[in-house]
């Protein structure tokens, strides 16, 4: 009986160690595997880019330009100041169109509508179009702050 108990304890401990060893070694391999497959990003830094000269954009006029990752941004002179809006729909990432005759942005993927200030008019988008900070320097140059890639 005592012999059996000794054997049982021994086999239990050996199973425990083997199990723990397997778990730790395969766990480490899995961790490295997941780390390898999960892309790592550097936090993108803000950067101001020159878009236009203020005198070339009278009230009501607009221009489009691309940010550093190639996405389209619209810069509008609303009369009360400059607004820079992303054209990427906040619903599922499609590109919105400006429809001048109806004065709204339209997303063709799931029928989202935004007004000239980027606010949601109708459809499924959960929030307004992303806005970018606009700066006008002493020489009337208009800069928009975008993120580095």
């Amino acid at each position: 009986m005592a012999e059996n108990e000794k054997q049982t304890r021994r086999s239990f401990l050996s199973r425990l160690w083997m199990g723990a060893g397997l778990f730790l070694s395969y766990g480490t391999a899995a961790f490295y595997g997941f780390s390898f497959l999960s892309p790592r990003f550097r936090k993108p830094q803000p950067r101001r880019i020159l878009v236009a000269s203020a005198d070339k954009l009278p009230p009501g006029a607009s221009t489009t330009f691309k940010d550093l990752s190639g996405r389209k941004i619209v810069l509008v002179n609303s009369g009360g100041g400059f607004i820079a809006l992303s054209t990427t729909c906040t619903h599922l990432g499609c590109t919105t169109y400006w429809e001048p005759e109806k004065s709204h942005f339209f997303c063709p993927c799931h029928n989202g509508y935004f007004d000239v200030n980027g606010n949601v008019v109708s459809g499924p988008p959960p929030r307004p179009l992303d806005k970018f900070e606009v700066f006008v320097d002493e020489n009337d140059n208009v800069f928009v702050e975008v993120k580095e890639v």
């Binding site: 990432g93 590109t95 993927c109 029928n111």
Partner: protein, 380 residues
């Protein structure tokens, strides 16, 4: 002659197969209702998967998974490579038919309640196979790198991003970065030709092993033992498995003898072979009448004005148009989870309302909504 004998002996020694055991394994008793072809649709996805594996490997010889070349390589396959258009069309149509076949098979299993105890796990494997087929379609479609498929990848990965807790990681993992681009194409290619086929084969093997372990479900109407006689599935009395009525232990020996069977090989094997031939013919007709074409190359700056995913995502696409972002995405996930775990929900419903076939009506309503949304998206 001695050489032939020596070869035979060598083969027998190298592959010590017991032919009697093999014969017994392939003579699995099949209930008579499987003589009706619409109950034999379960083998169709397997056949279509094999066609896709063969055509897919052939297409891989020419496809280049790189944004600047992907579209051009598909165009070369379609327009220049001998019989490239045919192989690509067969690959595309077999993928579409496979999703349709899995849906039809699951409908049959659902409305005959064949997912009930002890086959809950096999239903879940089946649901996994349907989801894998859909992801197969989604990744394959994106590999063409045309406008529609590029934007489908954008929308699809953004839906994944909305998954609670792990959404951000999941989307970045699938895309290989914050945007759909070169990494995404490589990853989708790896998923399409490596990861998903492996998952599919594992699930298929598990599915078939489960069918062999439990046997094919015996249905309540299976009483005459004659094919094509007296089958009517009435709306008020859905067909349910006999095992369910007999209890968890399955059908008794006496009952089994009352309900004659036929052997898998050669009877059912021939049925599958005929279905396979019909499918091959159908695929060729589809490839000739509606060959796979090319749209505009992907332009990450401009979303096309008319964008649609593959037909099996139409219902989801319409649902996303009708609802707010959260309800759209979370609702879809709840639907998928309910679909996977339906046998357990059904068990709870049966326990609570034993006299009513609530599952049947839920199935009718669910499928009707799916069809209405699909047709709505197709025609509007």
């Amino acid at each position: 002659m001695p050489t032939t004998q020596a070869m035979r002996t060598w083969l027998k020694e190298s592959f010590p197969l017991d032919l009697d055991v093999l014969k017994e394994m392939s003579s699995e008793p099949i209930p008579y209702h499987l003589k009706r072809w619409w109950f034999a649709v379960g083998g169709t996805p397997l056949y279509l998967f094999m066609i896709q594996a063969v055509t897919g490997i052939m297409l891989t010889f020419y496809y280049v998974p790189e944004p600047a070349e992907a579209y051009n390589s598909v165009a070369r396959i379609t327009n220049e490579v001998p019989f490239g258009w045919y192989l690509r069309s067969i690959h595309k149509w077999s993928a579409n038919l496979m999703v349709a076949a899995v849906i039809l098979h699951m409908l049959r299993v659902f409305f005959t309640a064949a997912y009930r105890k002890p086959r809950e796990f096999n239903w879940m494997i089946g649901a996994g196979l349907l989801l894998t087929s859909c992801v197969f379609g989604f990744t394959g479609y994106s590999l063409i790198y045309e406008q529609i498929s590029y934007w489908a990848a954008v929308v699809g990965t953004n839906i994944a991003e909305a998954t609670p807790l792990i959404g951000g990681w999941l989307a970045n993992f699938a895309r290989g970065g914050p945007e759909v681009g070169a990494n995404t194409l490589t990853r989708f290619f790896v998923f399409h030709i490596g990861v998903l086929p492996t998952v599919m084969v594992i699930l298929l093997v598990l599915h078939v092993v489960q069918i062999r372990l439990h046997g094919v479900t015996r249905l309540r109407f299976d009483e005459r033992g004659e094919p094509g006689v007296g089958l009517s599935i009435s709306v008020s009395a859905p067909v349910t498995p006999m095992e369910f009525h007999e209890g968890a232990q399955g059908v008794s020996r006496r009952k089994q003898e009352e309900h004659p069977t036929f052997p898998f090989y050669p009877d059912h094997f021939y049925t599958e072979l005929i279905i396979g031939l019909v499918l091959t013919f159908l695929l060729t007709i589809l490839a000739l009448v509606a060959p796979a074409t090319m749209g505009e190359p992907a332009n990450p700056l401009v979303t096309p004005e008319h964008i649609k995913p593959e037909w099996y995502f139409y219902a989801t696409f319409r649902w996303l148009k009708l609802t707010s972002f959260t309800i759209g995405v979370v609702g879809t996930m709840i639907f998928v989870l309910m679909f996977i775990f339906w046998p357990f929900i059904d068990r709870w419903l049966v326990r609570r309302y034993p006299t009513r076939e609530i599952s049947f009506w839920v199935g009718v309503a669910g499928f009707a909504v799916y069809m209405i949304f699909t047709l709505w998206e197709a025609f509007v």
